[in-house]
């Protein structure tokens, strides 16, 4: 079996494509995903062109899009480990993200040895990388604590527990008792309803860690001037660089989860998803597999949460309402549960079309049709319909695109459930094995060639 290379770069062994042994570049999932992301960038650049964006705005738009693609793809990947592989219905994603970023914040915020002013707190002043590791570990441990009692429950009850836990986390963050506390001489706390200011900029810390700050500023100034970005180019390049960092993390996520999935371990997870009792009857200690898988997924959700919120400068408990959890679910369903490649694709498509797309579309339309005056109330928008004039309604709809975003997501979800429940990539056979499962290479004994088969009366041999 010549599969060392395929396994080494973490690519999925596509049994359905490899049968004839011929390989084109397109068969590589990495190529598909890269093409998709480049295509989305191109679309946004085109949209920006229609909007008459300058270079600065174009770059900012691409930077923001990359950050969103990175975050949603990472979250969809982590959820895919829970739902796509193990069949764990986790609808408490945001809770694990919150644990991650709050732990990081407490560990890495500047140390305050004197009691800080009202409405602010300090942290332990650890380097950011230590804070990130701490946050990931905290999310994993929290996941383990949730899993111990919850994994005994049936799938639907498990789902209720997870969403409950994520709300408990949010309400705990709001708690005034732990808003500001003194631990071992350090003043810290969770900030209560006013949240925490994140006095660390992850991009700056990254550059400082490698001693590249001066070079970077020089580089961004020069390049910014050449591209005509205008004064103060650093924030623009910061976003782009952060998007790039997230893509590196995303590749890490993808490779880690491909390895996890395409292994005997991942195979047991899939078996648990299909039938836990049967898996037990084959001698597998399913609880241990489930807890480990759940903790790994929670750790990755925590990391994605850290990466998402660290850049935003501040966090408040209000940001951790369950809404984002369902965004991630939509992303996974679009991409196709059970496939890591599908998860990344789903995350990218969700971020580009459903999360940022509607607002972007609204801007384009309103920019193109300057004369489009949206009525301010629904009544004014609807009444001209009787006079066969739909324009006010269209204008009103577009003007309220931000509010309609959720409606749009719902419609997409219903459409997918009806017409393509397996998503973009969920139809593929992705056998869980570290090696490529081709047909048998060794010659078969002649006896089995003449296999008579009385029970082959059920079609369905063609579900590719």
């Amino acid at each position: 079996m010549s599969d060392a290379s395929a396994a080494a770069d973490g690519d999925a062994p596509d049994a359905d494509e490899s049968d004839n042994g011929s390989f084109t570049l397109w068969d590589q999932d990495a190529v598909k995903l890269t093409t998709l992301v480049i295509g989305l960038f191109a679309l946004y650049l085109l949209g920006g062109y229609l909007l008459g964006y300058g270079t600065r705005q174009q770059l900012a738009s691409i930077g923001q899009l990359s950050v969103l693609i990175g975050v949603f793809a990472m979250l969809a990947l982590a959820l895919n480990l829970h739902w796509g592989y193990t069949g764990l219905f986790n609808i408490g994603i945001i809770g694990f993200m919150a644990i991650g970023i709050y732990a990081t914040a407490v560990l890495s915020k500047g140390a305050a040895t004197a009691e800080p002013a009202a409405g602010s707190t300090g942290g332990f002043g650890l380097p950011l990388w230590m804070g990130i590791i701490g946050g990931v570990i905290a999310a994993a441990i929290f996941g383990g604590l949730v899993a111990l009692p919850a994994l005994r429950l049936r799938a639907d009850y498990f789902a209720i527990v997870t969403v409950g836990i994520s709300e408990i986390v949010r309400f705990t963050l709001l708690e005034t008792e732990i808003q500001k506390v003194q631990i071992a001489g350090y003043w810290t706390g969770l900030g209560g309803g006013s949240g925490l200011i994140l006095d660390f900029d992850p991009t700056d810390r990254f550059l400082e860690a490698f001693g590249l700050m001066d070079a970077y500023i020089g580089f961004s100034d020069t390049l910014g001037e050449q591209l005509g970005v205008g004064s103060n180019p650093k924030p623009i390049f910061d976003t782009l660089l952060y998007g790039l960092i997230l893509f590196v993390f995303l590749i890490g996520f993808y490779m880690l989860l491909q390895r996890t999935g395409n292994s005997p371990y991942g195979r047991v997870l899939k078996a648990i998803r299909e039938d836990e009792e049967a898996t037990k009857s084959l001698g597998k200690d399913t609880n241990r597999f489930k807890i480990k898988g759940f903790m790994l997924g929670c750790a990755l959700m925590g990391l994605a949460g850290i990466l998402f919120y660290a850049e935003q400068g501040a966090i408040t408990p209000d940001a951790f309402r369950p809404r984002l959890t369902f965004y991630v679910w939509i992303a996974l369903i679009i991409g196709g549960a059970g496939s890591n490649t599908g998860s990344v694709a789903g995350g990218a498509v969700f971020a580009a079309f459903l999360f940022r797309g509607p607002i972007f579309f609204k801007n384009i339309v309103q920019n193109t049709f300057d004369s489009l005056d949206a009525p301010s109330t629904f009544g004014q928008a609807v009444s001209p319909i009787t006079g066969a004039d739909p324009i006010p309604l269209v204008a009103y709809t577009i003007d309220n695109m931000g509010q309609l975003q959720l409606v749009l997501m719902g419609i997409v979800l219903i459409y997918l459930m009806h017409n393509r429940p397996e998503g973009m990539f969920g139809h593929r056979k992705e056998p869980a094995s570290p090696i490529r499962l081709q047909d048998r290479t060794q010659p078969k004994p002649a006896a089995s060639a003449a296999a008579t088969d009385g029970g082959r009366d059920q079609g369905g041999t063609d579900d590719e």
Binding site: T260, S263, P264, S281, G283, K284, D285, L437, S448, D453
Partner: protein
């Protein structure tokens, strides 16, 4: 054919990385000798004593006791609600018995978790085949072997150590192909298990169970929903395996099938063992006719 497939179900090489690999190898080497010996001495791998299981107020199994001799094929029969399946579930750890003990190869396995029971070599199949539908037939098979190094997450993920996982996987894959060929379902290897017919599922389940290297197999209605030609094949395989030294306990409704194929029959009725013996003895027993056939047909 027998010579060619003799090795298939014994799976000697898979456990290379586990501590008991050495003993496994020895055992395989002397398999034939051991077999012969055990037949003579008639060791009892499975002993059930005073097994009782209550669900709320209902007593499903009420003091069942029996012994299964090594290398035999025993049929467990009885009318619906006699407690056969519950007995199975108590033996394999799905249910914890209210009272009584289950001994397997001299060790008490009462109330052990199903996976622990399976790991001791007592493996079951289900009444309705529990294949893993959205996994391919080959994946189903690859799942079963014990002692897979790659089942530890860190070994599967970290570089360097993953090499050993891949190496073992290649060996396991070969064993799986051999087993699939033994059961003549290798042409379905890349098919989703959910697309198989009822009979093929039963074959797959038996093949998969054998890959866990059991010493004794508990088959819960292995012939239910299987068409006659496949039933014959399944029977052939079971007989072949029995000759190789596997012990079978089979729950089955088809009286003829049991009478013709099992050398020992246990009849259960209302949670208790009504009688046991050879097919001929059981047929003669009037109580059995009464309980099982409602006293109408004399067979």
């Amino acid at each position: 054919m027998a010579a060619g497939t003799r090795e298939a179900p014994t799976m000697s090489d898979t456990e290379a990385g586990t501590p008991d690999a050495a003993t496994e190898h020895d055992a395989v080497g002397d398999a034939d000798a051991d077999e012969a010996e055990s037949r003579v001495t008639g060791t009892v791998p499975l002993r059930v004593e005073g097994l009782r299981k209550e669900f709320g107020g209902i007593v499903a199994v009420d003091g069942t006791s029996f012994e299964i001799e090594e290398g035999t094929m025993t049929g467990l029969i009885g009318p619906n609600g006699a407690g056969k399946s519950t007995t199975f579930n108590c033996i394999t750890g799905v249910h914890e018995p209210t009272a009584g003990t289950v001994q397997f190869q001299g060790e008490d396995i009462t109330g052990l978790a199903p996976n622990k029971v399976a790991n001791r070599g007592l493996v079951r199949t289900f009444q309705i085949a529990r294949e893993l539908e959205e996994m391919t037939v080959l994946e189903n098979m690859l799942l079963a072997p014990k002692g897979q190094r790659g089942e530890a997450l860190w070994r599967s993920v970290l570089p360097f150590v993953r090499g050993s996982v891949i190496e073992q996987e290649t060996e396991i894959l070969e064993d799986c192909w051999e087993m699939l060929e033994f059961f003549e379902i290798d042409h379905l290897a890349h098919e989703y298990a959910g697309n198989l017919s009822g009979g093929q599922r039963k074959l797959l389940e038996l093949a998969r169970a054998l890959l866990t290297e059991p010493t004794m197999l508990l088959l819960d209605e292995p012939f239910a929903g299987v068409n006659p030609s496949l039933e014959e094949r399944l029977l052939e395989h079971i007989h072949e395996l029995r000759e190789q030294g596997y012990t079978f306990l089979i729950v089955e409704h088809d009286m003829d099938l049991i009478m013709q194929n099992c050398e020992h029959i246990i009849v259960m009725h209302q949670g208790q063992v009504l009688t046991e013996g050879t097919p001929a003895e059981v047929k003669q027993n009037e109580q059995v006719v009464e309980a099982y056939l409602g006293g109408e047909v004399g067979e």
